[in-house]
Symmetry: C2
Subunit: 110 residues, 2 copies
DNA sequence: TTGCTCCTCACGTCACGTGAGGTGGC
DNA sequence: TTGCTCCTCACGTCACGTGAGGTGGC
């Protein structure tokens, strides 16, 4: 038995949309591992892991094109990208803190 | 003397882009108060305040269309929108916390 | 044959960014 | 006349959302 799944199954299992996966394929970030006899798109375990990785990187705020540039790079390169990204995430974090405070201030005034 | 400014001056003073203001005008969120004798777009103090308000609401995570729907509403309505928005901002805040932690975990592993 | 699912386009969305082409005397 | 600034389009960007139209026996 293999863990190869159809697109539909992958979407359910990983919580990504059909269109999102199609988008990954459009820019060559992922490739279906094949088709079944009815023409359905199939994704083997490797492809599924890749989709999960992409999703994770997106949650860390990376754009698809950025992900494409480092996903197959040596881990030292990825590490360096992550360290830079943490700075952006912290900026965003502060920005949100400020926004929440401003919202409360406005609520007080109104 | 009046505090009416040209588009260029408004952009510099408020830190918004020319295209952003044009975008506000496209959906009827703002209207220039007039033109000078050379055809330059002019914004009086009221228009400037409006642009500043829009910018603030955008920083709180509201979309332009949402802003259009409540910007001229009674303050109780705006207050209610802000209270809902704070919940979204807090969700985002938590999501960022998680993302930062995940990034650090990945950095450790690599 | 009727449904249902999947596939492949392809336009729509959002908030501008980025020029292109034209005007006018700051 | 050459520059420079401003104006009004209008296509580009990003990451999908949302159908439309066509296929095939799960």
């Amino acid at each position: 038995m293999s863990d190869t799944k159809t697109l539909h199954e992958v979407c359910n299992a990983l919580g990504v949309s059909r269109r999102a996966v199609q988008g990954y394929e459009e820019i060559g970030l992922v490739t279906a591992s094949g088709r079944n006899k009815y023409g359905y798109l199939l994704y083997d375990e490797e492809a599924q892991k890749r989709i999960e990785q992409i999703k994770l990187y997106q949650q860390l705020g990376f754009k698809r094109k950025e992900i494409k540039e480092f996903i197959d790079a040596p881990s030292q390169v990825i590490k360096s990208m992550l360290e830079k990204q943490v700075l952006h995430l912290k900026d965003e974090h502060v920005r949100l803190d400020v926004a929440i405070k401003k919202a409360y201030e406005l609520i007080e005034i109104l």
